[in-house]
């Protein structure tokens, strides 16, 4: 792709702001010294990811992402932050002091992955904003060819539900158990 293609293709005008928001909020998620801000920057990263999905004509997945992640998972994270009494202001001890190891590993991994994908898919084109995938096709795939994984995933959710309840329940001491039975 030439430099001029960034301007001549209108899809790229949509792609670039989304990618910039994604990169910026991704960086802030892992570098912010404020736990609440880190969680809220994840909202920005997920919202721009949903935008990218719309660009790749995956409407249903984009809306699922917004519903499940921004609607539910972020709320869970905020609960987790509040309950573990993380310091709400700026906290310099949030990161490990030696960041260079992490940065080195991340840069090496990025170089490896980016080099690999550029080598493998040099100038392969993808159609942006094409025919949207109909939810009918997705539903038929989910309940037809992929019905067994679908059931496995639903069983996983049930197991997670029961596991969450078991972990969160307060175990009574023997004395409390007796007091409860005496009532």
């Amino acid at each position: 792709m030439q430099i001029g293609d960034w301007i001549s293709q209108p899809v790229n005008w949509v792609y670039l702001p989304l990618a910039l928001v994604l990169v910026y909020s991704g960086i802030r998620v892992v570098t912010s010294q404020n736990v609440i801000r880190a969680a809220l920057f994840l909202v920005g990263a997920l919202a721009s990811t949903a935008g990218l999905f719309l660009l790749l004509s995956a409407e249903f997945v984009a809306l699922t992402l917004v519903l499940v992640y921004i609607g539910a998972v972020i709320v869970l994270f905020l609960f987790g932050i509040m309950i573990t009494r993380a310091p709400l202001g700026r906290d310099v001890a949030l990161d490990h002091p030696s960041r260079t190891v992490g940065a080195g590993v991340a840069v090496a991994l990025f170089g490896f992955l980016a080099f690999g994908s550029i080598q493998a898919f040099g100038s392969a084109e993808v159609q942006g904003i094409g025919e949207p995938t109909s939810t009918e096709v997705l539903g038929e795939a989910l309940l037809g060819r992929f019905v067994v994984p679908f059931e496995v995933v639903s069983f996983l959710l049930l197991a997670a539900l029961i596991g969450g309840i078991t972990l969160a329940r307060k175990d009574l001491s023997p004395a409390e158990e007796e007091a409860k039975e005496a009532l």
């Binding site: 994840l42 998972v73 898919f121 997705l138």
Partner: protein
């Protein structure tokens, strides 16, 4: 648009997740970094789906599975973190040495 625009972006996001996983000390922040990595995988799946155009939208089905598993993972992960916080009064991963010899 090129497939690589999305693949390199996803690779960057995944590396950010790895960085956060190594550097962060708060266990909730570590889970946040894991979410970033799962998100990068989802971008890859959707980009490949748009590139290969399978008849049954296999890439999208798989990314829905990834989203579901990620939701379950967050629920259990946070429950474990809260459990350790209740026992140790700390959410710092450096203090989690229960299983260390």
């Amino acid at each position: 648009m090129l497939v690589n625009q999305f693949l390199v972006l996803a690779a960057f996001l995944f590396s950010l997740g790895i960085y956060g996983l190594i550097v962060r000390r708060n266990a909730v922040m570590v889970l946040l970094a894991v979410e970033l990595m799962l998100n990068a995988v989802n971008i890859n799946l959707i980009a490949f789906e748009a590139y290969l155009r399978s008849a049954q939208a296999v890439g999208q089905v798989f990314s829905i599975f990834v989203i579901t598993v990620a939701a379950a993972e967050v629920g259990i992960g946070l429950a474990i973190v809260l459990m350790i916080f209740r026992n140790r009064a700390s959410a710092n991963v450096d203090d989690f040495n229960l299983m260390r010899y």
